[in-house]
């Protein structure tokens, strides 16, 4: 009998690593493709992956590819593939491309197994960013370039790679329907990190299942791992029913209430502070509690998640203080009664409705009239591109995309970037901008830690967002299935998604 | 009113297009209706009688020919004042009255449309009209559903009279009624014509009714007028075979009549 692993995810899956952005895309990318380096386990930093070794000399980064690395097609992985993949990523300009935008002077294949990146200026997060550069089998892809705007590269195989895999990861695509499910099977030519002997022989990754369906499937033993988006009550019910165990995947994701600093009344820092102080942190965590000791969130003391520079494990997480909130509001130039607040919540994540309603309840105690709108994600990404029409507050989960604080803080708070959902506070503060730039170019770890501490303090002052809690995704696993990367502290990855390496999963019969 | 016929039609024709069929409902019909006369139009079902009526009433245009009314040309589109002068009484007294309106409102409609009489005196006029057709004035407040067939037909007549017309087209006004009721309605129609100097075009397929009421008769077959003449002439010496057949089919109540009828059918002449 085959060992099958059945999981689900609320969003739909994009298997082109140059386009993917969200959790599901990351999970697919890490199983189908390999980057040069991979986040380290149980600690910060990166570990060798497709690159067995590398040297950094000022602005020059030189990587040596793992001996004998080959793609699923049997083609060897060469430096040319790395160059092609990078160029493709930058040309298409989507997904992780922004991590490298304007930073890389050139990339060249020194020889078949050596690739060299030259940066334009010092950029400390570069190495970490490379975890997002999936290396594509360019020989195979070039057979399917298709038509498109990329000159001799045609469509850069955009259509083909959205439907087929061309990587060196432990798994390959057997079937893929972005609406319904992706079926993965082991890559026969895989030669990377060791594969667990009990690893699944088939993985079915299903999309957009209703919570009640997942719950029923789990209790009928027809599903193995739930998505992280189930409401706590459902997880709790499953847990009480027996037959499952709960696992968590903390890692670099902050749940922020993004406050629109460009729209009255939140363009006044005092009003923002008032909201931060009025926010009901305790009830939030109560609502996220699954069982004694397991909750979908953990307290967050500032803008940076635990384990990243700028986070202070000693510091107490903020608590609700209505008294102080009233005082801050008194300082604010606006009369709350005259400025209704628009709060949006992402329709796809039902649990967020409660947080939104909780805000509605608490903020209205301050005298605000609060409108709550359920908005589909697609529409939110649309709305936030214009600060004038963006809601006053949205709860957004922002994950560090690389194991470096820069990937979080710079994208969120730098005023140099165009407005997107990540930067939907629209903060424009010189001090913040300066610290962000310093943090990027400084390579000394100690100095960087100090810079990010200063940044955190400044951000706490400016209150462009409410640091609601840190996401602590909870999964219910069918007994008999285990995901050691989620279960053992020394195997955890600093950023989410990277632990879902199916080759490490264990399935008993 | 000028001398000469009140209504004059020349070469009237009507073709209906149904899908890709053409139905010739009326073919080259000439008709003259003198002022004050009761002109009967008889013929079998589908012979074009109602079509003729509808053209006279301006419900749809003729496909050929022309009409003169009181000396003036009469087309389908006509001024409201002209509409007033030609009125209609239909066969089915139930459907000809709007069941959701009171009798009074139905009779009042022509008064309102043509601004006949002052607003305040219209209710009185309605009552007078009801009385004229032999109905209680209190009926104005009732709905058609609570009336018998004969009473409804009287209401329809009162409504036609309200417009103070010169010509009334009666399309089989009594064929849905019982013999006794029919007799009463016929008497009413006859009295009104005399008292008000009305002109009738009386459509029917019952020759016995025609005999009692009409001055002149036109016989229609398949959209064509086959015969026209005074009532006396038609009954004593019908020319067309069809007219004879029509006379022969009339049910009669006495031996004597039956004998006469059969003779007409066979010979085309009234015996004696």
């Amino acid at each position: 009998q085959e060992r099958v692993l059945r999981l689900d995810e609320s969003a739909v899956g994009e298997i082109d690593p140059a386009k993917g952005t969200d959790y599901a895309d990351t999970v697919l990318a890490v199983n189908l493709y390999e980057p040069l380096v991979y986040p380290a386990q149980g600690e910060a930093g990166v570990q060798p992956w497709l690159a067995s070794d590398w040297t950094i000399d000022g602005l020059t980064y030189e990587f040596t590819l793992r001996d004998g690395a080959s793609f699923a097609s049997g083609n060897p992985v060469t430096a040319g593939d790395v160059v092609w993949s990078f160029e493709r990523l930058m040309a298409m300009g989507q997904g992780p491309a922004s991590l490298f935008e304007g930073r890389v002077e050139g990339v060249e294949a020194v020889d078949d197994s050596t690739v060299r990146f030259t940066l334009t200026e010092p950029f400390a997060p570069f190495l970490s960013a490379l975890v997002q550069l999936s290396v594509i089998d360019s020989t195979l892809a070039q057979e399917h370039l298709g038509e498109g705007p990329y000159g001799e590269n045609g469509g850069y195989a955009s259509d083909w790679i959205s439907a087929n895999s061309a990587g060196s990861g432990a798994y390959i695509i057997a079937e893929h329907d972005p609406q319904i499910e992706t079926v993965l099977v082991p890559n026969p030519n895989y030669d990377g990190d060791p594969v667990d002997p009990a690893a699944p022989e088939q993985v079915t990754y299903r999309y957009s299942l209703e919570a009640s369906t997942v719950r029923a499937l789990m209790s009928r033993g027809e599903h193995d791992v739930t998505s992280q988006w189930l409401p706590p009550e459902v997880l709790k019910a499953l847990n009480e029913e027996g037959g499952v165990h709960l696992e968590t995947e903390p890692g670099g994701t902050g749940e922020y209430i993004m406050l629109n600093t460009r729209r009255a009344p939140l363009d006044d820092v005092n009003c923002r502070r008032a909201l931060s102080l009025a926010y009901d942190y305790g009830t939030t965590l109560h609502l996220l509690t699954v069982t004694e000791g397991v909750a979908q969130g953990i307290p967050m003391s500032g803008p940076m998640p635990q384990g990243f520079y700028g986070s202070d494990p000693e510091r107490r997480a903020p608590t609700q203080d209505m008294q102080a909130a009233q005082e801050a509001l008194a300082e604010c130039q606006y009369d709350p009664a005259e400025y209704p607040l628009d709060i949006a919540w992402i329709a796809e994540v039902p649990a967020r409705e409660r947080i939104a309603l909780l805000m509605q309840a608490t903020f209205s105690q301050l005298g605000f009239q609060v409108n709550v709108t359920r908005t589909p994600w697609a529409l939110i990404t649309q709305q936030v591109t214009d600060p004038e029409t963006a809601p006053h507050a949205i709860e957004i989960a922002i994950s560090a995309r690389t194991p470096d604080p820069d990937s979080l803080a710079y994208n969120m708070f730098s005023s140099t970037l165009p407005p997107t959902w990540i930067s939907s506070t629209y903060l424009a503060d010189e001090e913040v901008d300066r610290l962000l730039e310093e943090g990027r170019s400084e390579t000394d770890p100690e100095a960087r830690a100090a810079i990010y501490d200063a940044l955190s303090d400044r951000l706490r002052d400016l209150a462009p967002g409410i640091w609601a809690y840190e996401a602590n995704p909870v999964y219910a696993l069918r007994n008999g299935v285990s995901l050691p990367n989620l279960e053992q502290d020394d195997r955890r990855f600093a950023i989410s998604g990277y632990g879902m390496l199916f080759k490490d999963a264990q399935i008993d019969g | 009113m000028t001398e000469g016929p009140l209504l004059q039609a020349r070469g009237l024709g009507k073709t209906f297009v149904v899908g890709d069929h053409r139905v010739q409902a009326l073919k080259d019909v000439d008709l003259e209706v003198a002022s004050g006369e009761c002109h009967a139009v008889v013929g079998e079902s589908g012979s074009g009688k109602s079509t003729l009526a509808n053209i006279v009433l301006g419900i749809y245009p003729a496909s050929a020919g022309e009409m003169l009314f009181d000396g003036a040309p009469l087309g389908q589109t006509r001024p409201r004042a002209m509409r007033r002068r030609i009125q209609l009484v239909q066969q089915n007294p139930l459907s000809s009255l709007n069941i959701r309106r009171r009798i009074g409102a139905s009779i009042r409609l022509p008064l309102d449309v043509h601004g006949i009489g002052a607003r305040s005196e219209r209710p009185a006029r309605v009552e007078a009209l009801l009385e004229e057709v032999g109905l209680e004035p209190e009926m104005a407040r009732r709905t058609p559903a609570s009336l018998s067939g004969g009473q409804r037909q009287r209401v329809a007549i009162a409504r036609a009279l309200a417009a103070e017309p010169d010509l009334i087209v009666l399309d089989e006004p009594t064929s849905a009624l019982d013999v006794l009721v029919q007799a009463r309605v016929l008497a009413l129609l006859d009295r009104l014509r005399r008292e008000r100097g009305l002109t009738y075009i009386f459509i029917t397929h019952d020759l016995a009714v025609v005999r009692a009421l009409a001055d002149r008769i036109s016989v229609f077959v398949g959209g064509e007028k086959v015969e026209t003449g005074t009532t006396e002439a038609i009954f004593t010496a019908p020319q067309a075979a069809f007219t004879r057949q029509l006379i022969g089919a009339v049910p009669v109540a006495s031996e004597e009549e039956a004998r006469m009828r059969d003779v007409i059918r066979e010979t085309g002449h009234t015996p004696g």
Binding site: S208, Q382, T420 | -
Partner: protein
């Protein structure tokens, strides 16, 4: 030309006109409303140039009328454009998802006819007596309950509390889909002789199809009932009784056939309503059909895909009505033989 053929051609021409109207309506509604589909398609991290390039590529910068022109030109070539969301030709997407929906809707439609009509007939035959009140109450209840509620209730009771039926999906895990001929699993399995697969597919169809069919069953029962009652008042039923036709035969044939004419016409509309309700039911039963795609593309303002989905649904509606017209004209000799009329 036979009258039926002529009727069909006439109807077909009208349908095409309506379809053109639908395309205009939905095309303009889709584009007039604010929001940048290119931005949504490329995701929040895409650069402005990439967005602009896509806008240019999709002619989104042209005036509306010109855009419609492009649309028509592509349509003439059988091209409904490319989905911004799945990045596949819309036609290909629809071809992939439509069969599952069709299979569901067909089975539900079958249930609607096979259960609803006899139920209505029964009620009419016993008008104002016990079976009638019961049948009417049941059918009103069925009509009054949203399809998604039926879905949730059926799923809860028959797949969870008493796990008789599968919870979701078209086939059990481990059962391979049959070769793709029509895309309807039951039909394909039957064609290739895989009876096990066919039964499995049917087994999975029962709950969602029932959830979808229930309101249709109620509706058709109600329609049949009132139409039959109307027919029972006709003189020819009086005649049939005066001539000693058996009551059962009158109900099954003599009154039923004329009663079917108005009923079927309206049932065509109900069938279309099922297409819409499939949007709800598919969601509950994780049915990999067109509806899920439809909701998704609507949420993403995936213009071409929205237009494609709506056009296909409208086309199915029109085809259904065409078929209904055909059946009605077979039942109703007046339509069929109109030519020989008026002798």
């Amino acid at each position: 030309m036979s009258p039926i053929l002529r009727l069909l051609i006439h109807r077909l021409a009208l349908s095409l006109l309506v379809l053109a109207g639908v395309s205009i309506l939905i095309f303009f509604v889709a584009r007039v409303v604010p929001g940048d589909p290119a931005r949504i398609a490329l995701g929040p991290n895409a650069g402005a140039e990439a967005v602009e390039a896509l806008r240019e590529e999709r002619h989104l910068n042209d005036p509306l009328i010109v855009q419609y022109g492009w649309f028509l030109r592509d349509l003439a070539g059988g091209d409904l454009g490319t989905s911004l969301y799945t990045r596949r030709p819309v036609l290909q997407d629809i071809a992939a998802y439509l069969p599952a929906t069709l299979e569901l809707v067909f089975i539900a439609g079958l249930m609607m006819v096979l259960v609803g009509l006899p139920l209505g007939r029964l009620a009419a035959r016993h008008q104002r007596r016990g079976p009638d009140h019961l049948a009417r109450f049941l059918s009103v209840l069925a009509v009054c309950t949203p399809a998604f509620v039926w879905g949730v209730i059926l799923q809860l009771l028959l797949a969870y509390v008493w796990p008789i039926f599968p919870l979701e999906g078209r086939l059990s895990t481990g059962v391979a889909p049959p070769p793709d001929i029509t895309g309807l699993y039951t039909v394909d399995a039957l064609l290739t002789g895989q009876f096990g697969t066919m039964l499995n597919a049917l087994y999975h169809l029962i709950l969602p199809a029932t959830a979808l069919a229930l309101s249709g069953i109620g509706q058709s029962a109600r329609l049949t009932r009132s139409s039959m009652i109307e027919t029972y008042r006709k003189p020819y039923i009086e005649m049939a009784r005066a001539y000693g036709f058996k009551e059962g035969r009158i109900a099954r044939r003599y009154a039923f056939r004329p009663a079917l004419i108005p009923t079927l016409t309206v049932l065509g509309l109900d069938f279309a309503a099922m297409l819409a309700n499939a949007f709800l039911v598919e969601r509950v039963f994780v049915w990999p059909g067109l509806s899920r795609y439809g909701v998704e593309v609507i949420l993403r303002k995936d213009l071409d895909a929205i237009v494609g989905v709506v056009l296909v649904i409208a086309a199915m509606f029109l085809i259904t009505n065409l078929v209904v017209d055909l059946i009605v004209s077979i039942i109703n000799p007046r339509l069929r033989l109109a030519e020989k009329r008026g002798k």
